[in-house]
């Protein structure tokens, strides 16, 4: 009897635990997915449907709003600017971040702990605080309103992540692999290119894509530092303010989708960065 009750109780607790777990998962997923789903429905609906009530939960597949954007003056230029800035950010943050990650993982040097902290601290300064001095400096050096200038700011934002991701990637490669390469005729450089690089290339790609997304999503610096050569975010921010509702939805959709796709592609490495085991 007592045995049976004990078993019942444990299955009971397990069951309620399971329900709680599933409920939390459903809630968190809904929290993220529902707004994106509404964005999708409204983007693919005609202006009349967007402004009407009650809402339909099934998209109409009306591409009017998206078509409007495709033909909107300056839209394609802004898209091009966004891509250029994001690519520059991607390249620069890897070129600067990966060596720093390698050094953190392989060498012991005085102030290593402080250095790691400082890397994170670069994220502690709010951009609005830096915007004015940056704008003045950029105007003085002629970097204002250029893709390169904006990419520099975005690189600063992306570097902490590039360093942390590559640090964890390099730490995952046993030093013996490099040492074996050295004894087999490699210099430090050729050991890196022939052994380490092929092994971390997928991770580096992920880190690069993450830098791309950071730049793609960034709006404040883009809005302050560019006028003619606006990136997509800054361009939409400027124009959507006064646009009708259905265009706002479409604009939001255009911004969200690429970022989502990219983050989904590199999710494994982002978990690795935060110390969660790869799944």
């Amino acid at each position: 009897m007592t045995d049976a009750t004990a078993v019942d109780m444990s299955t009971d607790t397990r069951k309620s635990g399971r329900i709680l777990y599933v409920a939390s998962v459903v809630f968190l997923c809904a929290w993220v997915i529902v707004p994106i789903y509404f964005l999708l429905i409204n983007t693919l609906s005609s202006p009349e449907t967007v402004n009407s009530f009650p809402k339909s939960f099934i998209p109409e597949f009306d591409f009017g709003s998206l078509q409007f954007f495709a033909g909107f003056a300056g839209m394609l230029t802004a898209l091009k600017n966004s891509v250029i800035v994001a690519l520059l950010t991607m390249v620069m943050s890897i070129l600067i971040g990966a060596p720093a990650g390698y050094a953190l993982s392989r060498f012991d040097f005085p102030g290593k702990g402080l250095f790691r902290l400082l890397i994170l601290l670069t994220r502690a300064f709010p951009l609005p605080l830096l915007a004015l001095p940056l704008a003045v400096m950029f105007i003085q050096t002629g970097l204002d309103d250029t893709a390169f200038g904006l990419a520099l700011v975005h690189t600063t934002l992306a570097i902490p992540f590039a360093v942390l991701i590559t640090f964890s990637l390099f730490s995952g490669i046993p030093i013996e692999l490099e040492e074996a390469a050295w004894t087999l005729g490699c210099t430090r450089l050729t050991a890196f290119t022939k052994v380490v690089l092929p092994l971390i290339l997928p991770g580096i790609t992920a880190s690069a894509i993450f830098a791309f997304v950071i730049s793609w999503n960034e709006v404040f610096a883009a809005a302050v530092l560019t006028i003619e050569n606006r990136t997509l975010t800054a361009f939409l921010l400027q124009n959507l303010d006064t646009s009708p509702l259905h265009l706002k939805f479409a604009g939001g959709f255009i911004l969200v989708v690429p970022a989502l796709i990219f983050i989904f592609a590199v999710r494994k490495y982002l978990f690795a960065m935060w110390g969660i085991a790869n799944r």
Binding site: P174, E176, L177, E179, A180, A181, W182, T183, L184, G185, C186, T187, T190, V195, P198, L199
Partner: protein, 347 residues
């Protein structure tokens, strides 16, 4: 010719002295084992020879050429690592041929050499596989083959068998010994496993706290330990020690019995004997058996003589019970003496 000379090599990590003034000469084609407990500096010494670590002071010479300022690739060495370090992104063939490709050897030469060492290590059928598809023992074979393919003057091995299970380790031990003897390279082999050291080495260097305590042939290290550390580190169970007081004229009293010993002026000495060098007899040391462990081939008896623990290995037919008193006679030519102050052997 690849004689290795290590001259006054010392290594300090911050305040920690890992190696004290090491001097060692390893003859051409000799199989030298560096044996010691973890933290004794044996791996550090090997890594200094390999060029993966820089000595704080001292010189390393290989084949009459000073090499301690050269990078690892220019030293004429090849190394086998404890965790194998087989490159995961390359096939077994490309792993073994990695060093040859770095030397820019022609394709057919690479194929020939890889084929030869793969045959030696019995891994011909694995050449197309990746490291992830190999067992630990197979990876070990790849790592050794990769080192042999370089046809180095000196092959350095850092605990290469310690990650294998016991049976495989025994098999690889014999195989490695044969392959290395045939390759005619000078070999330095680091291990903490005394059986490995005894069975493979031409010469063993026993290391302790950053010093080489004794460098000699295995049987000499076993029979004539230069210091008490060696006597208690080598042999399983280790040597037994009893304190001895002088009776004059080279006579020493040990547990109530008189033995012939060194004719010296020491105030006291330690009498030492290996467990297998004792026989039950009419006259000898009176020992009370405490624990009796029949091990098949023989019986291990842990006894008490005065206040000291004392282990003997007796024939498996011997009938002993715990609590029983044994009279044990040491084989006289196997008795050794140590100075309790310096811990060194006294002849």
């Amino acid at each position: 010719m690849a004689e290795i000379q290590i001259k006054n090599v010392a290594k300090r990590f911050g305040a920690y002295q890992a190696l004290n003034d090491i001097n060692l000469t390893i003859a051409d084609q000799e199989f030298m084992v560096l044996l010691g407990a973890s933290g004794c500096g044996k791996s550090t010494l090997l890594r200094i020879i390999a060029g993966l670590e820089t000595a704080t002071s001292g010189e390393v010479w290989i084949g009459g050429k000073r090499i301690d300022h050269l990078s690892p690739k220019d030293r004429g060495i090849a190394m086998v690592f404890q965790n194998y370090a087989v490159f995961p992104h390359l096939t077994v063939f490309e792993n073994i041929g990695f060093g040859l490709r770095m030397q820019k050897l022609p394709n057919d030469e690479v194929t020939r050499r890889v084929g030869r060492v793969a045959g030696l290590m019995h891994i011909e059928m694995l050449l197309k596989r990746y490291s992830g598809e190999l067992s630990g023992g197979q990876r070990q074979r790849v790592a050794v083959a990769r080192a042999l393919a370089m046809e180095p003057d000196v092959i350095l091995m850092d605990e290469p068998l310690s990650n294998l299970d016991a049976l495989l380790r025994m098999e690889m031990r014999a195989e490695l010994k044969g392959v290395l003897a045939e390759s005619k390279t000078t070999a330095i082999y680091v291990t903490h496993d005394q059986v490995e050291a005894m069975s493979m080495a031409d010469r063993i260097s026993v290391m302790h706290e950053g010093n080489i305590v004794q460098a000699a042939a295995p049987i000499e290290v076993y029979r004539d330990p230069a210091a008490k550390f060696v006597a208690s580190f080598i042999g399983n169970p280790p040597m037994n020690f009893l304190s001895a007081t002088p009776e004059g004229n080279g006579k020493w009293q040990v547990a109530g019995q008189t033995f012939d010993g060194p004719n010296t002026a020491h105030a006291n000495l330690q009498f030492a004997i290996r467990p297998e060098d004792m026989q039950p007899s009419e006259h000898g040391l009176a020992a009370t058996a405490r624990i009796v462990e029949p091990l098949g081939a023989h019986v291990l008896v842990t006894c008490q003589i005065d206040d000291a623990m004392f282990r003997v290995i007796l024939d498996s037919d011997t009938v002993v019970k715990a609590g029983q008193t044994l009279t044990l006679a040491p084989q006289s030519d196997r008795v050794r003496w140590f100075d309790p102050d310096t811990t060194l052997a006294v002849a």
